[in-house]
């Protein structure tokens, strides 16, 4: 089969399979699956203004997922996007705190640079441990997520706590309106331009530079690259830094844009969904845009599910998890399944 068509059909087939599995689970649990998928479709893409609401979640997801894709492409399982996202927003909120009163034209770019730096530094230490000492990055990045989550709780309930808050959820003060780059809807020209900029830069980096070519070689066959004199540690460190930077950038956009403040434990599934977005797109930047839109739509539909169908919001988490379970499966549409019956795996 044509390889390009397969790259598109495969994820669609798995998403369909996950949809069917989820439908069965929801029917067993006593909900109407058809009604649910109707309302997801309506809430995410077809209803009035629903595309705009989907974009609000899709834009930050896209930025993080491009970074995740770059690091996965290089063969490094940097699953710390969640922690890097948190650290980005924490660093950005510190900049706004210490530069209060300074012109917004200076504060916002500085805050974003701080966010990118924070995310990059937070992904740098697992990367350094991996490359220098061979410490497996899966565990260190997982642990870095938990540590970053606790640092976020500390910052929002300690030094930068909004004293006037209700006490329900610890958060920082809401930014003054001149520091915001969008209203609560989260879609504005600035954010869209930044996202497009990230997309174009990412696409050029992956497809038109030696870094892109070498890093995808490093992911496919590190041994060969090593014998040809490629420096895997440089590629690895660079991919860790880039993915951290992008996750941190989307953390700071979340602060300056839709949220306007940092809440403890906000968007807890952002990193996991971004990994999923990158996997569904098989790390291609253009594909990432579409899959980010899909998962962003799911996310925005999830907020309305309880109202329309009585289904809990966690239904979407379950759906996402089932997609994650299946997305890397390597049965290719029938033919290989038969062949596998006669061959022995793991030899």
């Amino acid at each position: 089969m044509n390889e390009k068509i397969e790259i598109i059909i495969r994820p669609l087939a798995f998403i369909l399979l996950a949809t069917i599995l989820c439908g069965i689970i929801f029917e067993i649990a006593g909900f109407s699956a058809i009604l649910m998928f109707n309302s997801i479709l309506d809430g995410a893409f077809l209803g009035s203004r629903s595309l705009e609401k989907s974009l609000r979640w899709a834009l930050p997801l896209f930025i993080t997922a491009v970074g995740v894709g770059i690091s996965f492409r290089c063969g490094f399982f940097n699953i710390g996007a969640q922690g890097q996202f948190y650290m980005g927003s924490v660093c950005a909120v510190y900049v706004t705190e210490y530069m209060s009163g300074v012109n917004a034209v200076i504060v916002i770019p500085l805050g974003m640079i701080a966010g990118m730096t924070g995310g990059a530094l937070w992904s740098l230490w697992p990367g350094y441990l991996k490359i220098r000492y061979g410490v497996d990055e899966v565990i260190t990045t997982l642990m870095s997520n938990f540590i970053a989550g606790l640092i976020l709780v500390y910052v929002t309930s300690g030094p930068l706590k909004d004293q006037s808050g209700s006490g329900q959820q610890a958060s920082t003060k809401i930014l003054p309106s001149e520091l915001r780059i969008s209203d609560a809807s989260g879609v504005s020209l600035t954010i869209i331009l930044i996202t497009i900029g990230v997309g174009i830069t990412g696409w050029l980096l992956v497809n038109r530079t030696s870094f892109g070519t070498l890093s995808s070689l490093a992911g496919r066959n590190p041994t060969m690259l090593k014998y040809q004199g490629g420096k895997i540690w440089q590629l690895g460190l660079a991919s860790f830094i880039i993915s951290g930077m992008l996750a941190g950038l989307s953390g700071s956009i979340e602060l300056f844009g839709p949220s306007g403040r940092v809440v403890s434990g906000f968007l807890p599934t952002h990193g996991f969904t971004a990994i999923l977005v990158a996997l569904v797109a098989s790390y291609a930047v253009i594909g990432t845009a579409f899959s980010a839109l899909f998962f962003g739509g799911l996310f925005s539909a999830a907020l309305f599910l309880p109202i329309f169908t009585g289904l809990p919001t966690s239904a979407i988490d379950l759906f996402n998890a089932i997609i994650a379970l299946l997305i890397t499966a390597r049965i290719t549409l029938g033919t290989n399944f038969l062949r596998n019956r006669w061959s022995h795996p793991h030899d």
Partner: protein
């Protein structure tokens, strides 16, 4: 002396779920798969135990159904990794997501809200004859025997050696008539059993409560204990014990130094200890052995 007893009780309470999780990780690790789904299967075990106690009022039925459901989810994980050839790390994360999302979904569709559920009673206690330790659950008491029997099973039995062969050199295992795929299936089933015990102990051991996302990384920590312990049951149990000592010391430090250092930063201690633990392993061994299929993710 009383304070020492209290300290030990606290360590056993927080350490036992970790140790059971680490045991589940060990047996699967030796069969050649990275068990990153520990977190998800553990939370399913915790959830089913509490819901079972609330609905049936019987501890035996609750723990049995937890074990059965955990084994079913483990088989699902085995099927996707072994038969569908999916990447084991992503599948592990997917199982974790299914655990966290699925338990939230189950709780909300059964009880109608996401509030924590509390059960009227938990795992039977070991009784008053043990003095300061009487509040501990039976599973804490069984834990050393579980570690010992897993050690016998993995390192002193024909099955254990075949299992290790299936993990390290599948061809050799097949040449003596052991099917690596079936060996992994058995490993995942035993792992599911231990995950159910870990979840049950976490939820019903001392608290008798199930809250959203209550596992909070303990499954991943149990997995890190497997790496830190070098895949050896006793070593991994001690590694898990070390992580729980660190977290208990962190809680103690809140009492003594709570005014100087933030409570939330002290909660980071077990996670930092985990990173240090696998860093030490990597320095000692040259590097931690990465998952064997890491580059296969690209080949789609």
């Amino acid at each position: 002396m009383i304070e020492f007893h209290e300290f030990l009780v606290a360590i056993l309470r927080s350490g036992t779920p970790l140790i059971y999780a680490a045991l589940a990780g060990v047996i699967v690790h030796r069969s050649g798969v990275w068990h990153l789904g520990l977190e998800g299967i553990m939370i399913i075990g915790a959830c089913v135990t509490i819901i079972g106690i609330v609905l049936t009022n019987s501890f035996i039925i609750a723990i049995l159904s937890a074990i059965i459901i955990c084994i079913i989810v483990s088989i699902l994980q085995w099927f996707v990794i072994e038969k569908l050839k999916a990447n084991q790390i992503i599948v592990g994360l997917g199982i974790t997501g299914i655990g966290i999302g699925g338990t939230a979904f189950a709780v909300e569709s059964i009880f109608g809200s996401l509030a924590a559920i509390s059960a009227p009673f938990g795992i039977p206690r070991i009784g008053d004859t043990f003095g300061p330790y009487s509040g501990l659950s039976v599973l804490v008491f069984i834990m050393p025997f579980a570690v010992f029997s897993l050690w016998v099973l993995l390192l002193r039995s024909r099955f254990g050696l075949r299992l290790a062969a299936a993990g390290e050199h599948p061809f050799a295992a097949r040449s003596v008539g052991a099917n690596p795929s079936i060996m992994r299936l058995i490993a995942f089933c035993v792992g599911g059993l231990f995950c159910a015990l870990a979840g049950a102990e976490l939820a019903a051991g001392s608290l008798q409560i199930f809250a959203q996302n209550m596992v909070a990384g303990r499954g991943f920590m149990g997995f890190a204990a497997v790496i830190f312990g070098g895949g050896h049951p006793v070593g991994s149990a001690f590694a898990a014990m070390f992580f729980s000592i660190v977290s208990v010391v962190g809680i103690r430090m809140q009492i003594h130094f709570g005014n100087f250092v933030s409570h939330d930063l002290l909660l980071c201690l077990p996670y930092i200890a985990t990173v240090l633990g696998i860093w030490i392993t990597a320095r000692a061994k040259g590097r931690t052995n990465s998952a064997s299929q890491i580059s296969e993710l690209r080949v789609q």
